[in-house]
Symmetry: C2
Subunit: 482 residues, 2 copies
């Protein structure tokens, strides 16, 4: 799609040092952290809102697809393309930290950990903490609607976005939302951009809520169970007892053994482990939690005694994916999420699938949200194993939908979950909701230049409609003609 003339035109429009077509650069942008690969035709590095406007204006006229890029930490293929990559990582200024109105205003390319380091100086923090926070950008985290470990208490990124500055497909820059504690002026379009995965506009600046760093003493508990059902029941009982932990993570034998090897540690290992952060105000919170753990047969209940121990336990969890990757040829990370009261059925289903298909599946993740990630080991050079891994994912996705869960809790749709999304919307929401999303997309991006071919960009199937009375549309009647 991108001609040599286009490259020259973009260079002329943007000036020196912003348009790249050399092999080395294109290679760098050829895969995401989930292993999805596509080699772009060109990479443009934007240094200002004006740069982004110029690129989109040109590409919109020429119908050239554009995919925004922050750090490439997507796990679903959302940021790979064989067309044009628009890299925003150089737009990395923190524009304002407002300690009265409790927000931070930043350019899209600011790395999340850097943001939090800066906020800490003022006694504040931005709670959502995806595992990629050391590298991921705030623009990417918003476009992706990211989650993380602390989300069990604080919610995900969507709960912390006040406003976004967006360059529309036309090249015009607008702001959705207001950096205010309260605002009811107009539809909540800022939230439409949270999790829009680069399909509605390019997010160039964000206004994020921030919170005072909590005063309470944090206790970190590592609990070991010999039966995974006990760990599952603990999660449910914690919820029923209305204990609100700041972190509630699950992992299994495979995960801890990999972590012990990776870090040279010697953590207790059982069939299932929980890592729990609890805030201590009255001194009774820890007691209450420990009683739930004992009641559910925890064999080891280790309360971190100092900062170092607490940090070591956190690192065990935070780097578990890397530790597992170091022991396995290839893994596939799943992101289904189930209602929390169905977590035992979910764990059991994964056990069954693991046995049936002869695959190692390690379970680790955000138990307090029902979002435990299965990590499926497979050999990509063994076609039979690849097929069994894919079948496992298919069954898991179907299972999540059947129990009222979602095909993606925090990683998003991208290329990976396009089929699952359609199935979920058809089963839970009415397939009409998909068509409405496609029509909204068309309002924002009439020429379909923004990250096309992903997410909701699937053909209409009129037979999928569950309704005898489809929504009447006074506009164009053939939505596939995009």
């Amino acid at each position: 799609m991108l001609t040599e003339q286009d490259i020259r035109s973009l260079q002329a429009v943007l000036g020196e040092g912003k348009v790249f077509v050399d092999h080395e650069t294109l290679e760098k942008y050829s895969s995401d952290m989930g292993g999805f690969c596509r080699k772009p035709s060109a990479v443009v590095k934007a240094f200002s809102v004006e740069d982004v406007s110029k690129v989109l204006r040109y590409c919109n006229q020429r119908r050239i697809p554009v995919t925004a890029w922050g750090a490439g930490s997507s796990l679903t293929g959302a940021v790979v393309t064989d067309n044009l990559i628009l890299d925003l990582s150089n737009m990395d200024r923190i524009l304002k930290i407002d300690t009265v109105n409790y927000y931070v205003h930043a350019e899209a390319g600011v790395v999340l950990d850097r943001l939090n380091k800066e906020l800490e100086r003022y006694g504040f923090f931005f709670p959502p903490d995806p595992a990629s926070s050391f590298i991921c950008t705030v623009g990417g985290a918003v476009a992706e609607g990211a989650g993380g470990l602390r989300c069990v208490k604080y919610g995900t990124v969507k709960d912390w976005v006040l406003a976004v500055k967006v360059v529309l497909a036309s090249g015009e820059a607008v702001v959705f939302g207001e950096p205010l504690a309260k605002n009811r002026a107009g539809y909540n379009l800022a939230q439409l951009f949270v999790g829009s995965e680069g399909t509605l506009g390019v997010i160039v600046e964000v206004w994020l809520k921030i919170a005072p760093l909590p005063d309470a003493r944090l206790r970190r508990i590592y609990a070991v169970f010999d039966d995974w059902r006990d760990a599952g029941n603990t999660i449910i009982e914690i919820r029923q007892k209305r204990i609100v932990p700041r972190m509630l993570e699950f992992f299994d034998r495979v995960g801890v053994e990999a972590a012990n090897k990776f870090h040279g540690t010697n953590l207790h290992v059982g069939e299932a482990m929980l890592l729990i952060d609890i805030e201590e105000f009255t001194g009774k919170e820890l007691e209450k939690l420990v009683s739930v753990l004992k009641h559910n047969n925890a064999r080891v209940i280790r309360v971190a005694e100092n900062e170092e121990e607490a940090e070591m336990l956190l690192q065990t969890r935070a780097s578990m994916y890397l530790a597992i990757r170091a022991t396995a040829k290839t893994v596939l990370v799943e992101d289904v999420c189930v209602p929390i009261d169905r977590i035992l059925d979910y764990l059991e289903k994964v056990k069954q699938l693991s046995q049936k298909h002869g695959l190692t599946i390690s379970m680790n993740g955000h138990a307090g949200d029902g979002n435990i990630h299965p990590v499926i080991f497979y050999d990509p050079e063994n076609p039979d194993e690849v097929a069994r891994a894919e079948k496992t994912v298919e069954v898991l996705v179907q299972f999540a939908i059947e129990v009222g869960g979602t095909v993606t809790g925090e990683h998003g749709v991208g290329l990976q979950k396009m089929d699952g999304l359609v199935k979920q919307l058809a089963a839970h929401n009415g397939i009409q909701t998909l068509y409405l999303m496609q029509k909204l997309k068309k309002v924002f991006d009439p020429n379909n230049i923004l990250n096309p071919g992903k997410y909701i960009d699937v053909p209409w199937k009129s037979s999928e409609s569950t309704s005898e009375h489809p929504t009447q549309d006074s506009g164009s009647s053939d939505p596939t003609a995009r």
Copy 2:
């Protein structure tokens, strides 16, 4: 628009006892709590989703405007119409209280206080608490995106909506969102309906997040200041000191004197008062707050000693609007909201306007959010006074926009703030955002039957466009032709 044939047809479609055109019924639905008046042509009472579908299907075919009604507690004219009222208050079942997944599933007509009473039995609550909670419905609270006293800590309704079941203009029922702690499947359309004011679809069911009732001891403090600047500075210092109160309300002499008269109480009166709820965990929270109050010259610092006293103080605030109404012929309630660090300028501006225009203006409201409501006293039979009151509002709206605030913090747009909305979007967001909202509306409601003539339903003015490069739209080019 509504013919006698339409009434007969609707009666035939819906069956007995659901369609009303008698004088008494129409009168009941002829005004909202803000005093906006329009007499409907007919009232339909829906008892099921199917009823709502039938009404919308018929009205969409016949292009009859439909305005959804919960309790009529809008303050902005959002629920009055001279066409058809669709009353959802009989759809009032609480369908599920989920104490593991922390949500409540309810029909739109459930009254908010009833919901909270039911939740309390399980040890949970729904935090947003608009002053109308004794009468307002959850459907209305979501459609309006309501606020309240506790929102300074917990956020507004938008922060607590997981999913909505909506009947589209076509009559089809769909669900946006999922009742899950985490979900990234598709655009966040549930949030598009929060604050949609009945213009995108009719909300018939909601899934709302709930929270465990807090354990902490609540301390309620009533502070009296002889200079309103001291009260304003207290608000700012509370934020800077990272104290997070559960309530932070401001009121003035006029308000407390009205309340004392109304309740027969004898509360201390000064130039400005703050009512503050603070959660006590360590015992130091109260101390910290009192030190801020003293530092800002509070003359009286009264800490409620028991439940009765705390409740009396809360009632003073909660019923202040009624108390004021009892002393005045007519009042006009404003809802502008400013950045919290501009609260002194805001209070000063109101003082100036009060003097300049010779009007009594009482200030009371959600200081911790920058959302203090001016209550403007005027005589509706005095045209000159009406003009001065209107001028005051106009200047206030302009002021709020200039200091980076919003024309509506929590009451919404309805009929009242249509001009202000356009001004705010043009000044802060780019007028293109208004046109995008109008296009989105058209996707959901191509025939413009859902609560037309309000909110974003204003004509395009191409001269308002701030851009040299307006968004290109491949669709119909004349958006005013609705």
